[in-house]
């Protein structure tokens, strides 16, 4: 793919951006690791993707995600969050990320009118704190910040189907776009829709890949319908939160998003 975007019709760009206009074909390189129980695919487009600073940045991305997993994993008994919940670590001794993510979780519940929650409650059970739904998007945002520092690249960081697309220094206005295919929830391996993204997040929630796992916070019951919901927007935490909430109640979330996330789009398949 050597698709380049139309430069933005804004004022003439800085000299750096103009100089970065590719006269050579764009290379593409992928890095894949399994972290947080899912495949993390980092793809980079640049004129020369074999640069050592790209290698280093990719290494930092995966190191950051592994650190996030150490802090937040609910599947690892030795994670900080598990030890916190077990009383082995005091709140004041935690990584500052804990407070940051907790704040996001509270905000997400409020902003979605309770259609997203980080407090999982099966019927009859005491709600348990599970920030997983926020942590993934937040972690990808943290890692993307590292990639923005790398000059002359465009990147897409995909964590198990939810991704952030962005670019490094000097690429504003000339960064290539990425064609994101949205998988057909009714037929694996088939692409039901496509969207072009230069910078932003694409998040999809559904049951196709893992079976039913999204619960309706209002009832605690697992959402039984099929299909998927996709949100395209500026930020992966919120795209993910809205996509999950929309899977629970598409009509209500469509209305909420019109008011509270007007920059994002929602697609229900």
């Amino acid at each position: 793919m050597t698709t380049t975007t139309l430069p933005l019709p804004t004022r003439p760009g800085p000299r750096a951006a103009r100089a970065a206009q590719p006269a050579q074909p764009i290379q593409r390189r992928a890095f894949v690791e399994f972290i947080m129980g899912m495949p993390i695919s980092l793809h980079v487009k640049a004129i020369d993707t074999s640069r050592t600073d790209i290698d280093q940045a990719a290494g930092n991305v995966f190191a950051t995600l592994r650190k996030v997993d150490e802090v937040f994993s609910l599947w690892r008994a030795d994670s900080e969050l598990r030890r916190l919940q077990a009383g082995a670590v005091l709140a004041g001794e935690c990584h500052p990320w804990q407070a940051e993510v907790l704040e996001l979780c509270l905000g997400a519940e409020e902003r979605t009118g309770g259609l997203f929650t980080a407090w999982r409650a099966a019927p009859g059970e005491v709600p348990a704190y599970d920030p997983t739904g926020v942590v993934k998007g937040w972690a990808i945002e943290q890692a993307s910040a590292l990639l923005r520092l790398v000059p002359g690249i465009s990147f897409c960081l995909n964590a198990g189907g939810d991704m952030f697309v962005g670019f490094g220094a000097g690429m504003r206005g000339v960064a290539p776009s990425w064609s994101i295919g949205i998988e057909d929830p009714h037929q694996a391996g088939r692409i039901a829709a496509t969207v072009e993204v230069v910078e932003g997040a694409v998040a999809t929630s559904g049951t196709a890949a893992r079976g039913s796992h999204i619960a309706d916070p209002r009832t605690g019951e697992v959402v039984s319908r099929s299909g998927s919901t996709t949100v395209v927007g500026p930020d992966l935490v919120w795209a993910d939160v809205w996509a999950t909430a929309a899977f629970v109640d598409p009509a209500a979330v469509r209305d909420l998003m019109t008011e509270r996330a007007p920059e994002s789009s929602l697609t229900v398949l």
């Binding site: 960064a175 776009s177 064609s179 496509t194 072009e196 230069v198 910078e199 893992r210 998927s228």
Partner: protein, 189 residues
């Protein structure tokens, strides 16, 4: 340099209107356009905005006297884009206090841009892009957080125009059979 001058001229005599696509974080998926100033209702030529010295020197629409505009404008459906009928903006007034103004099509380095605004009791209540510099759907989509386009195509990973795949969360096991995995394989070094 001439492009910068063009741009300055058009903005001096113009309103800079943001596209109606709201965005945040300076996202590249947003854009803004410069629109030529609307002419007033009583005049189909020149400008009546005497307070703006720049416009008195350059009739509205003069920004289209770019060499390249001749090719582009002959095919254009917008008469105002011609450099000879430079200020052909039409305005249609309806109710007292509500008027719409179509700016001249401005030839930017990226193509022709034309914006129409609605003014109600002295305030701009609406702006619409009548003409945009991109000619195909794909280019247009990247200027906002687009709604994905539905298709019926069965995508083959080996011969695909898809860069990445979004779907319900893939586990490590499911990944092996996934389309994303096939795309990754093609680009691993």
């Amino acid at each position: 340099m001439r492009k910068i001058t063009l741009w300055l001229m058009s903005t001096l005599s113009a309103l800079v209107l943001l596209f109606s696509y709201p965005t945040s974080r300076n996202a590249a998926a947003s854009s803004s356009v410069a629109a030529a100033a609307p002419t007033t209702t009583e005049s189909g030529s020149g400008t009546t905005d005497s307070t703006d010295s720049a416009t008195s020197q350059s009739p509205t629409g003069s920004a289209t006297t770019d060499d390249t505009s001749s090719d582009a404008t002959t095919e254009s459906s917008t008469p105002s884009s011609s450099s000879t009928s430079s200020s052909s903006s039409d305005s249609s007034s309806s109710d007292a206090g509500t008027q719409t103004y179509a700016g001249d099509a401005v030839n930017t380095q990226w193509g022709l841009v034309q914006v129409q605004i609605t003014v109600e009791n002295g305030k701009i209540t609406k702006s619409e892009v009548l003409q945009v510099p991109w000619s195909n759907h794909k280019d247009q989509e990247i200027n906002s957080y687009a709604v994905p386009i539905l298709n019926q195509e069965t995508v083959d990973a080996q011969n695909s125009s898809i860069d990445m795949v979004s779907g319900a969360t893939v586990t490590s096991v499911g990944y092996i059979q996934s389309l994303q995995s096939a795309i990754d394989q093609a680009h691993l070094s």
